[in-house]
Symmetry: C2
Subunit: 325 residues, 2 copies
Amino acid sequence: MKIGIYGYGNLGRGVEYCANQNNDVEVFGVFTRRDPASVKTVLSSKVFPADDAVNYSDEIDVMIICGGSATDLPKLTPMLAENFSVVDSFDTHPKIPEHFTAVDTAAKKGGTLALISAGWDPGMFSLNRIYAESILPCGNTYTFWGKGVSQGHSDAVRRIDGVIDARQYTIPKDSALAAVRSGKNPQLTTREKHLRECFVVAQDGADLTKIENQIKTMPDYFADYDTVVHFISAEEMKKQHSRLPHGGFVIRSGKSGENNAHNHTIEYSLTLDSNPEFTAGVLIAAARAVYKKKNRGETGCITLFDVAPADLSADTAENLRKNLL
Amino acid sequence: MKIGIYGYGNLGRGVEYCANQNNDVEVFGVFTRRDPASVKTVLSSKVFPADDAVNYSDEIDVMIICGGSATDLPKLTPMLAENFSVVDSFDTHPKIPEHFTAVDTAAKKGGTLALISAGWDPGMFSLNRIYAESILPCGNTYTFWGKGVSQGHSDAVRRIDGVIDARQYTIPKDSALAAVRSGKNPQLTTREKHLRECFVVAQDGADLTKIENQIKTMPDYFADYDTVVHFISAEEMKKQHSRLPHGGFVIRSGKSGENNAHNHTIEYSLTLDSNPEFTAGVLIAAARAVYKKKNRGETGCITLFDVAPADLSADTAENLRKNLL
């Protein structure tokens, strides 16, 4: 399977590294909107101008689109799906139905197959929600994020006057996790589920009290949470907070049997040193499924919900049954 | 979807309870090898003689076979697959390829669809192994069982002279779990991974030291483990050990990025009050997938590896994308 990598930031680099771990995957090239001569790839993949991509549509089995969900993917995925089978990691949950429809239309027009929203949430967490709810229909599902860096919240803090740099960690509260695991099916408020911790580099002479207050009262992002703010130096930021760890938990608590007296807890958790590199792993597996399904004649838009797990694997059905079942 | 329940022990009762939680599932009836008049079902499902099952093949969409893996399922599943689309929970791992072939032959002959080995291991644990290995190709997968009752080990202790009753709990060792979660990819021996704890009711005057020694040195079952034996009264057995809890962990520890410097841990765990009732939940969801796939014309034998998650759910694709993705 030959893949193209469209967009080359943290996610694109992660895809290049991950492709190298999979014997059945070859990187045809990286497509960038920057000057190709200025882009040095981590494993020496070739670099092409993004605008030339369509010239290589016969040589690429699946294009993995490594762009942001806010502005890139809503345009790029439908556009590229007209000429390529594609995979993306679109993660703006409320806009998934709209994105699905746009991509489905484009893919059907182009006779291609597109898989959207592959990553960990949406992605692996979604899969665990659907499996758990299908198996335990009477119960509640809880999703917790973190401990990890939220890029959106970090960006929001950076936009405040007097802030040079910022990193925001989302942290699930132990008390909430314990209540959910106990099988009590608690009703939890936003504030009860997660804590937000910010590390901020401020300009010399900035009004720190004012910045802290602006963070803690910011609607949507922080106002509904308990938020802790630490002011640190630029050196400490670089030394302690340059990685992009993330993770989280999906927990389903369900009942069964006589008078629903029996409790069951299904818990799925991720602890990731690198959010983009893990997402890249999901994208590569999803690209493999797209490749197999496209070869069987499928077109249009799908998600991981539509993919049989065997199609994500490079191994044979016989080996999978023997070794992993 | 109308299901039949073939075999009516703990698992069959669990299926009857779980069917009642799913609005799209109706129990046509229970099939038993006992005298039907002697079987009282927990939710008043009708009872038929097992030998008459074939007379109802047009009225049953999927037959859920609730038998044991040692002797029942290797005969029953191929036999019933000639006339019914079926689901079973065959769990003798080394014999899965052989069982698959026998069932596949029978189902193709009968023009039916059969899904084998649905449960939690094989089943949900298998799914987590295949997803995790597809996403993180460089790493190790660890499966731990427990804390929970192992029926096979309990039976083995019961067969010892002087033993009236026994219950064996398999317990994962915290030290092993911690080593795996640390990302160190340890090599673990059988003894390092699990502890075995036995509760035994002995005959009056039995040689307890001899029984304990026979347990601890029993090949395959206990000799390779640290085993703790407690002698208790029949009353205490009934009061403290009458439930069938189980559970366990599947943990994948993988690497990514530059020089594989980043660690990722995927952990899936189950804490089940009732092993058979949870298995029943998986069987019902699997039966739904079989029903949908059979209606699309699929025949032969499949496993959960071949099932797209959306087919396990009673909800529509649109709702699933909107609410669970």
